[in-house]
Symmetry: C2
Subunit: 382 residues, 2 copies
């Protein structure tokens, strides 16, 4: 096969294969106890509603539902998002997935050598996007922002404040206030990635960063966890002057988000179906989370700690120092259990004694045997 | 409103607003005789089939149709494309629109200052994409490829060989052979954009560039004109080693194409519905094309020339030297007729005496009054 490398852009060597997707390719995860996935549970999909709405949308909107649409998104969906979250419609851009939301923010803001500040551990899809533009991702905690004199330029802070992927943690109000004043001091934008915010199982909602700093925040939402990921729909809420550039960029990216899917999503919201389904989804995930927490309590050896997420799809385990979850992985697979090593999510690859566990996608019948297998592995590795 | 320009990447000043989309915003085109759009006719949409297939897909595939899917596209759709076009499935990547196909080729190959060679006049969405990466688009005809010594690097040739948007022209076999040997000589890749290829109304099909040079061609297909643009689905056929980079890039762009829509498209092909609908679509567009050609023949003043497309959605008018279709545009709108000035499609903005006319989207009842209005304008402007 010929070598095409002379044709590739300077960005290509920085493209990062997802280690998660590579893990998935390695083994048939459905045959073992896998906590590795990040998928929502199929039982939460409103299949019957989607079937009905697909047909309704074609009756109601006719060919408009199948034609090209506005680059910003169809007006009905933008309005539904604006109403739901209490923002002006001019501040809503629909995206072809919230991953595209991350990508388009990167594309519009990042040059090679720019800095993104992020709160470790960081969502892998965001690391992939930032690095693909040759930006450097630095942990916000460790970092004092580089002085302008250094020639480096930090553009924005990236964070999932609610039920972080992978850690499951939620930023408190005072942490958010601190982050916002830091952003103001340093004149940084904030990319608030918020795919899980509607999935809260306990505790009280904390205000969004967007609500605290609407002039410097791009808030990314997603339909993947409240409707279905197969729709690839998300949204950005942000200042009009930033959305204007994102809009022009998106013309060249894909002209407009999927139109038929957008009308289904709009009807899904306005019919009240989203809220009805959300009640069921939250009950399902709360039960799963509580089950996982109970099993960890019961089986995990001393010296192992974990987060207690108030929502989302993940929790994060910290094992005794010296256990390396990357090195342990093949043994885990042979034993019949899978996870994602936590160090993949750290900007510097550290924290090799951590792992991400998903509780939304695993068969419930596999939770107990899976946690026992993990606990045995950890006990032996100590 | 605050100024965010310090946050923008170096690419942003090269983002090009679509002058076509700006024209659309200027006036209610449905109130006048508009040849400006590039949309397919709503009567060609297989609305009933889509309604039935939406429901069938949910019955047949269940939650799989709503879950995340493979980045390369769902296997059923990749296989359907591979079978239809006689290529190995490993050479098929599904894209979230063929505009994304163009964009991802640009993203993987272009650095600022790189050169794309294109055949004038050039599809605007491609110009937008190439320029957004700060590449320079040069006309292939005028150009001898810059010597390596000049430090400039031409990466690929971009062309719509079948029924070009905007010109409606089709490259002959010998033109294709010439282009392919030129690409071989100069070691250039070819991006063959092919959204209209299935819409042939007369004449004989000419082999694709991909079939003539499979190791250096990325062939872009689209569902927008054979199913419906609201689905935002396309595909790339090309060498595995190129698709591998596109695949990794696409993980960061949007993870995967819309899954529900992909299953509908796969069933649309495998059920034979695509071929049945294509027969009707071709008959409809052939009639419209013939009507347009007849009207031009009847009304256009001497010294006006036009292309006679064998397929696609557009034809291209060349008016007497000295008439400026950009300058004439407001007068045309006031008179009640719209077009897109041809110079927008030229890499150097030349050919100001040309215009693109669409025959797929305009109300048939408006064709005759529209062409008469245009003919009057041109006669007066001479």
């Amino acid at each position: 096969m010929r070598d095409y490398s002379a044709f590739f852009s300077g960005d290509v060597p920085s493209f990062l294969r997802s280690p998660v997707r590579d893990i998935f390719a390695k083994v048939d995860l459905s045959a073992i106890c896998s906590f590795a996935g990040g998928y929502p549970a199929a039982v939460t999909f409103p299949t019957e509603a989607i079937k009905r709405l697909s047909s309704d949308v074609l009756d109601k909107y006719g060919p408009k539902a199948l034609q090209y649409g506005a680059t910003q998104g169809v007006p009905e969906l933008r309005q539904a998002i604006a109403d739901r979250y209490g923002v002006p419609v001019s501040r809503v851009q629909i995206t072809t997935s919230s991953q595209q939301g991350i990508d388009v923010c990167s594309r519009v803001m990042l040059d090679p050598g720019d800095i993104v500040l992020a709160k470790n551990p960081v969502y892998l899809g965001a690391l992939q996007s930032f690095r693909s533009y040759r930006a450097e991702v630095r942990p916000i905690a460790a970092s004092s922002i580089p002085a302008a004199a250094s020639g480096l330029r930090a553009k924005f802070i990236y964070v999932i404040p609610d039920f972080n992927n992978p850690s499951g943690e939620t930023m408190t109000l005072s942490e958010r206030e601190e982050l916002v004043s830091f952003a103001r001091e340093q004149d940084l934008l904030i990319v608030e990635d918020s795919p899980y915010r509607e999935l809260r199982y306990s505790g009280e909602a904390v205000p969004t960063l967007y609500s605290m700093a609407p002039e410097r925040t791009l808030h990314l939402g997603s339909f993947s966890k409240i409707l279905a990921p197969g729709f690839r729909l998300g949204w950005i809420i942000g200042p009009e002057a930033l959305l204007e550039k994102i809009y022009i960029c998106k013309q060249a990216l894909d002209l407009c988000p999927p139109v038929f899917d957008q009308y289904i999503a709009a009807e899904y919201i306005s019919s009240g179906e989203l809220d009805r389904n959300l009640v069921k989804t939250i009950a399902e995930y709360r039960r799963r989370r509580d089950r996982m927490l109970g099993l960890l309590e019961r089986y995990m050896p001393e010296g192992t700690f974990w987060t207690r997420p108030e929502g989302g799809l993940f929790l994060f385990l910290t094992l005794p120092e010296g256990i390396d979850t990357v090195a342990l992985y093949d043994e885990a697979l042979s034993a019949g259990v899978a996870y994602v090593a936590g160090s993949f999510f750290y900007t510097d690859g550290s924290h090799r004694n951590t792992m991400r566990l998903n509780f939304s996608f695993i068969d419930e019948a596999k939770m107990e045997p899976g946690i026992r297998l993990l606990a045995d592995l950890i006990s032996k590795a100590r």
